[in-house]
C-alpha cells in the first residue's frame, strides 16, 4: 500500500516568493496535518484538516494557509517567503485525526529560501 506522498521533494525559492506544497494521504485517510521542521528541532504543528474543514491551527502567521480537496489530498501555501521559512515541511495523515490514532508521516518537502 502506498504511504503518504509529498511533492516536490526539494524546492528553492527566494525571499518574497510564494510556494505551494502538496500532499496525498494514505488511501482511506480523511485527516491531513502539516508540520514544519527546522533543522535540529522537532516538527511544529501548522494545520490539520478533516473532511475539507480546518480543524486546528498552530502558532503560524497568516502567510501560511492550506486547504483539503474532495479526494482528501491537501496543499500548503506560504506567501511572502522569509529566510526563516527554510525547513522540512511534513504532511501526516490519519483516519479521522482523533483519539489516539496513529499519524503517518510523508517524506517531507525540503524548502530552501534564499
Amino acid at each position: 500500500d502506498a504511504g503518504v506522498t509529498q511533492s516536490p521533494t526539494h524546492l528553492i525559492k527566494t525571499r518574497g516568493q510564494q510556494v505551494t506544497l502538496r500532499c496525498s494521504p494514505i488511501s482511506g485517510h480523511k485527516s491531513v496535518s502539516w508540520y514544519q521542521q527546522v533543522l535540529g528541532q522537532g516538527p511544529q504543528f501548522i494545520f490539520q484538516y478533516y473532511e475539507k474543514e480546518e480543524r486546528g491551527r498552530g502558532n503560524f502567521p497568516d502567510r501560511f494557509s492550506a486547504r483539503q480537496f474532495p479526494n482528501y489530498s491537501s496543499e500548503l501555501n506560504v506567501n511572502a517567503l522569509l529566510l526563516g521559512d527554510s525547513a522540512l515541511y511534513l504532511c501526516a495523515s490519519s483516519l479521522q485525526g482523533v483519539g489516539q490514532e496513529t499519524q503517518y508521516f510523508g517524506p517531507g518537502t525540503r524548502l530552501l529560501v534564499l
Binding site: 535540529g40 490539520q48 486546528g56 501526516a92 483519539g99
Partner: protein
C-alpha cells in the same frame, strides 16, 4: 498537553539494549504516550503507543509505571540502522490531532 522531557542524546553499541526514559509529570488521565523515530531528512515513523503497564511490538517495548509520570522506550539489541532521533509525545484524546514534538533524543549506535 503534558510537556515531555527526555535526554538530548545517547550512545550505544550494536547488540546492546537501549532504554530511553521520558518524563511527563503533568500527564492527564486520558492521555496516551507515543514514541516516534525519525531518520535524517525523513518523516517521523510511529514506533509504539501505550497507556499503562507494558506494551510490546516487533520493534520495541514501552514501560509505563503506575503513576504514568514517566515512560521508558526499550530497543532490544540495537543495530547501526537504529541511529535516529526518538521522540516521546503525550497524545490527548481530545486534541490528538495536534502532535507536540520536543527536541527528541539523538541515539547514536556505534559498531
Amino acid at each position: 498537553l503534558a510537556k515531555t522531557t527526555q535526554p538530548i542524546s545517547m550512545d550505544s553499541y550494536e547488540g546492546q539494549e537501549v532504554n530511553i526514559t521520558c518524563s511527563h509529570n503533568n500527564i492527564a488521565t486520558n492521555d496516551y504516550i507515543t514514541w516516534y523515530q525519525q531518520f535524517p531528512s525523513q518523516g517521523p515513523r510511529f514506533i509504539i503507543q501505550g497507556y499503562k503497564t507494558k506494551v510490546t511490538n516487533e520493534v520495541a517495548s514501552l514501560f509505563i509505571p503506575a503513576d504514568r509520570k514517566s515512560s521508558t522506550l526499550s530497543l532490544p539489541r540495537v543495530s547501526l540502522s537504529d541511529t535516529a532521533v526518538y521522540y516521546c509525545l503525550v497524545v490527548g484524546v481530545d486534541s490528538s490531532y495536534k502532535l507536540i514534538f520536543g527536541s527528541g533524543t539523538r541515539l547514536l549506535v556505534r559498531p
